[in-house]
Amino acid sequence: MAGISLQNVVKNYGRLEVVHGINLEIDHNEFVVLVGPSGCGKSTTLRMIAGLEDISDGDISIGDRVVNDLPPRKRNVSMVFQNYALYPHMNVRENLGFGLKIAGQSKEAVEQRVQEAADILGLSELLERIPAELSGGQRQRVAMGRAIVRHPEAFLFDEPLSNLDAKLRVQMRTEIKKLHNKVRTTVVYVTHDQVEAMTLADRIVVMKDGYIEQVGTPMEVFNHPVNTFVASFIGSPPMNLIPATITSGQVEFRDATKIPVPSRLAGSVSDGQEVIFGIRPDDLTPIGHGIHEARETTDIDLTVDLAELLGTETLLYTTFVGQEVQGKMFDPRDVTPGETLTFRLSLDKAHIFDAASGQSVRRH
């Protein structure tokens, strides 16, 4: 078992560069999730680690071996594909044992390892079935079984849950997490779903357009997004981002509304600076319907355009400075559209980004 290291890894297809020199250190037994919108290079990065794509420049090491020019079979990793890629003409037992058989293991050894993997994943009853006779969740489990049976140095997951329906996706997400707890191994997991990223990862790598935007634990990425892209991509519903200007130590919005600059950020902004003010819906709540006691708050009146009931909370859509801003009401009461409420804004949870660069003004 081993960590994975990417140094200045570049990928281009002809003249088109899709991954621009990324650096990433993945620790032994760490669960790292690459997340980003489609076309951000996350799958390409994973396939480069697997050896299914050549790297155009840079180095990839697994353990202490540089694997740049090794074919997939010599990298000792296993991979779960988006469409599972089970071999349709083999039954579950043969699918699980295929890699071991290719490696020339004895029949007894293969049988024992297959049984062991089948036990972990609850597949023992299904060993004689062919993939066409399995449900989506079962196929998913077989794909994972095929990955663990070889005891590889790392598991690579390429959007493994995106073909499942919503309920099964949540269930399998939990199973993957449990599996990782049982079979401690380095995992690189690609997804476009930020909820999967948040729930599964030890560390999240947010990618966009072939660059790494931010690397951090889920809470770091959630609480301290380094730029507006990460701020809007991680978290659901997304953070409200409202353009403003800093004037005499206050945040002044386009409609001349002023609120104080959060005290922890006061030293990081200067008068006249064009900024983007960020606040998550969770931190913009009608008075008396918040979720935590903020130390530093300010109140603004907003008119509710639409209320979405989610049960334990209600999503409130309002208009502020000509743009849609979402707030949340915990422990909700009935709200009618058109009603004006006083919202309490938790300043200690607010973010300020430089408008020109999109970067957080918070010093790192």
């Binding site: 697997a50 079979r73 890699g99």
Partner: protein, 285 residues
């Protein structure tokens, strides 16, 4: 006339049409098979004898050189030539077809579409249109009246088709299966033979049957390029039954049956492979 009657009449009309069409299609074949077991005089009788009165194996006997009557036609040589030429050209066309089909399905290369279009256009040219240039070329090369000469011609006739058909089957197999096998420890070559080949088997079998039948049944080019027992195939051999003034219909029909039977047997043997459908299920359902 009420609606029920109309419906019945239409159904009856359909059945009659179907029957007539089937008769038109089947009778010549049946007639050939039947005539193979009848003496010449019964075949040529006027008015025709519809229901056979005298069934005999004599026609086959005289072809194969036993029995009272004999015809001097080396059917065994023709059969041998046909087998060698059809099987060899089919195997070669399949090997090229698999390599080509795989390449078209899996790899990106320059002028890929132009190549493919070229192959299809080649397929559109009737073989007989090429017979004169081929004849001249083959005579210079000394390939006239050789098995090799016909094998080359049939391979080139069949390759565009086998590539096209096999390409389609490989396309249906997701790339990720081969990738999964490679991550699982296979070389690309192993991944091909252990995963992709078994899944494309039905397509390859179908391509093989079509290629074999094309070679087995081809007459026009074979009649130009063959002369003797060295290379004459069965369809060309049929012509041996026509003399200047007479045609031995019974012998000809017996030989036609000999041509038909292996083709039928082959098609029957591989028919289960012709039914595709194994591919799906391993990927998302």
């Amino acid at each position: 006339m009420n609606r029920e009657m109309k419906k019945r009449l239409r159904a009856a009309g359909l059945w009659v049409t179907t029957f007539v069409l089937m008769v038109i299609m089947c009778v010549p074949g049946l007639w050939v098979v039947l005539s193979a077991f009848r003496p010449n005089r019964e075949i040529l009788a006027k008015p025709p004898i519809w229901v056979p009165e005298d069934l005999t194996l004599n026609n086959f006997g005289k072809i194969f050189g036993f029995g009272a009557e004999q015809v001097a036609i080396p059917v065994l040589s023709y059969f041998w030539n046909s087998m060698v030429i059809a099987l060899t050209s089919t195997v070669i066309a399949l090997i090229i077809g698999m390599a080509g089909g795989y390449a078209f399905a899996r790899f990106r290369f320059r002028f890929k579409n132009a190549w493919f279009l070229g192959l299809m256009l080649f397929r559109a040219v009737p073989g007989i249109a090429l017979s004169l240039p081929v004849f001249m070329l083959w005579s210079r090369l000394g390939l006239i009246d050789t098995q090799m000469g016909l094998i080359i011609v049939y391979v080139s006739l069949n390759v565009p088709f086998t590539i096209w058909l096999i390409d389609g089957f490989f396309r249906q197999i997701p790339m990720s299966l081969s990738e999964a096998a490679q991550v699982d420890g296979c070389t690309r070559w192993q991944a091909f033979w252990k995963i992709e080949f078994p899944l494309a088997r039905s397509g390859i079998a179908a391509a093989g049957v079509f290629a074999f039948l094309t070679s087995w049944n081809e007459f026009a080019l074979a009649s130009q390029l063959t002369r003797s027992t060295d290379s004459k195939t069965l369809p060309v051999g049929l012509m041996d039954f026509t003399a200047q003034f007479t045609i031995d219909w019974a012998g000809m029909c017996a030989m036609a049956v000999i041509i038909i039977v292996p083709a039928l047997i082959l098609t029957f043997l591989v028919q289960k492979h012709l039914i595709a459908g194994l591919t799906f299920g391993g990927v998302k359902g």
